[in-house]
Symmetry: C2
Subunit: 280 residues, 2 copies
């Protein structure tokens, strides 16, 4: 049933479908997705949901998804009373799910990790691009750090690193390699974090600092960066500085990108040690 | 205010706090967290929430979090009406948030990625551990794949790979390296996925197949695995097979682990090209 035909079947006075069922589209895993768009009262929603669940059970459906926009949050309680649980939420919607099959629940796991990048950008004078962030825990300590940022959902790590450096410092760069990555846990609530240290090649040098987020930005001799107590005394930062030094002296291979195409035609990046592969 | 003192102040007949405010604990970022535990009617909740918001505004608080267990889902609608939005949800709770400060919203991003592993396990006879999964899209095609699985939140990638191989095949292994990783988008809804190809060293050979998830599991000559049309004709799988071959012939360095300790004393793993670092 297309959304167009649903619209046509909605009786304006009460928004009940003539068919007495919620409008839903099949997903690829033997389930259905109900994308609630129109306003509906709980008194209308509950009988429709019950009739729909009976129908989907007869049809042998498995996972039933209800995407509730935040303006329809009043339907969350009745859906939970009918057996739905939360799956995930974004600022503007709540996704509810119910497994109605006798088979083992094979619903996909919720996203578990946020992803961040740190950018190692060194110029031909062996100076690195460093910043002091306004909202940072190091604020006021005089510590200089690599630019860092969040990889948005749907964004490639290699592109996020270039974007963050451009936004924070105005410097144009090109992605070279992931030099290392760190996984940490309970980054917020129970979620984990993956942080990728990326080497970027600078293509410009003029710094235009992002006023909203940065106190300061500059090019700094690498040795001066690495000599800061915060880098010297912290095993993680010390290790990363060593890797950056190794990389800048050409003796270290990180992971660079190979683009591949998925069965649906999208480009995805594989990150591999291309330097070693080429030597074989 | 500790949760103990809150309990003491709850008047049993209506569960209103004597203080007229919701119980909350400060977070580390200038905000507060309300962890709703006791049953509360919306008629009680709304005036408490309004009074609390006024109080927190006076106090200069910024992000206000409300964690609603699913049994209190009836409070989601009133919270949204008071200006809250969704932040994230897990099966058993919904997290709502409201930024009440004039300063720029610096709330943490929701988790954006799920994380998976694929395990390359080769024995001394150059046989690889391969499986046929029940719920897989390759079901019934005769395709043999590396064991794969989901990295749970809070779980280390290196440990998840060992766990999955043990669960699926009964084979004991030790993590060696991440050989490559792939980032893909829209893995479900708008979320992205990071998939790490891990090399593991087997410490046992007897296969005990996981009946609920696997059709079959076996040791297979690597050349036979790589000659499958599904591996040969698909750029991604072909590339990964090449990397595994390169690794098994000792000419490829992936990322192995270095354990570091966070400021709060937790162990976290940094994944780096240790082979290159050692040579320097």
């Amino acid at each position: 049933m297309s959304s167009r035909s649903v619209q046509e079947q909605i009786a304006p006075e009460n928004e009940v479908l003539q068919s007495g069922l919620l409008s839903a589209v099949d997903d690829l895993y033997g389930g259905v997705m109900v994308d609630m768009k129109e306003h509906m009262d709980a008194t209308v929603f509950v009988p429709l949901l019950r009739a729909s669940l009976s129908y989907w059970r007869e049809q042998g459906k498995r996972g039933i998804w209800i995407q509730l926009p935040i303006r329809l949050v009043h339907l969350a309680e009745p859906a939970v009373k009918e057996g739905f649980r939360f799956h995930h939420a974004e600022p503007d919607y709540l996704m509810l799910v119910c497994w109605i099959s006798e088979t083992t629940d094979s619903l996909p796991a919720n996203a578990s990790h946020s992803v961040g990048i740190g950018a190692f950008v060194m110029n031909s004078k062996r100076e690195v691009l460093v910043v002091q962030e306004k909202g940072d825990k190091f604020k006021g300590t005089g510590v200089w750090k690599f630019p860092t940022g969040v990889v948005d959902e749907g964004e490639d790590i290699c592109k996020a690193a270039v974007r963050e450096v451009k936004e924070e410092t105005g410097v144009d760069t090109e992605f070279v390699e992931v030099l290392a990555f760190r996984q940490s846990h309970r980054s917020f609530f129970c979620k984990s974090n993956l942080f990728f240290v990326c080497m970027l090649q600078p293509h410009s040098s003029h710094i235009q600092k992002q006023i909203s987020e940065l106190e300061a930005a500059q090019w700094m001799p690498f040795e001066e960066y690495a000599a800061q107590p915060f880098v010297r005394d912290h095993k993680l930062f010390n290790y990363i500085a060593k890797i950056c030094l190794a990389k800048s002296e050409k003796g270290y291979s990180g992971f660079s990108t190979v683009s591949t195409t998925t069965s649906s035609g999208k480009t995805t990046y594989l990150y591999v040690n291309n330097q070693d592969l080429k030597q074989l």
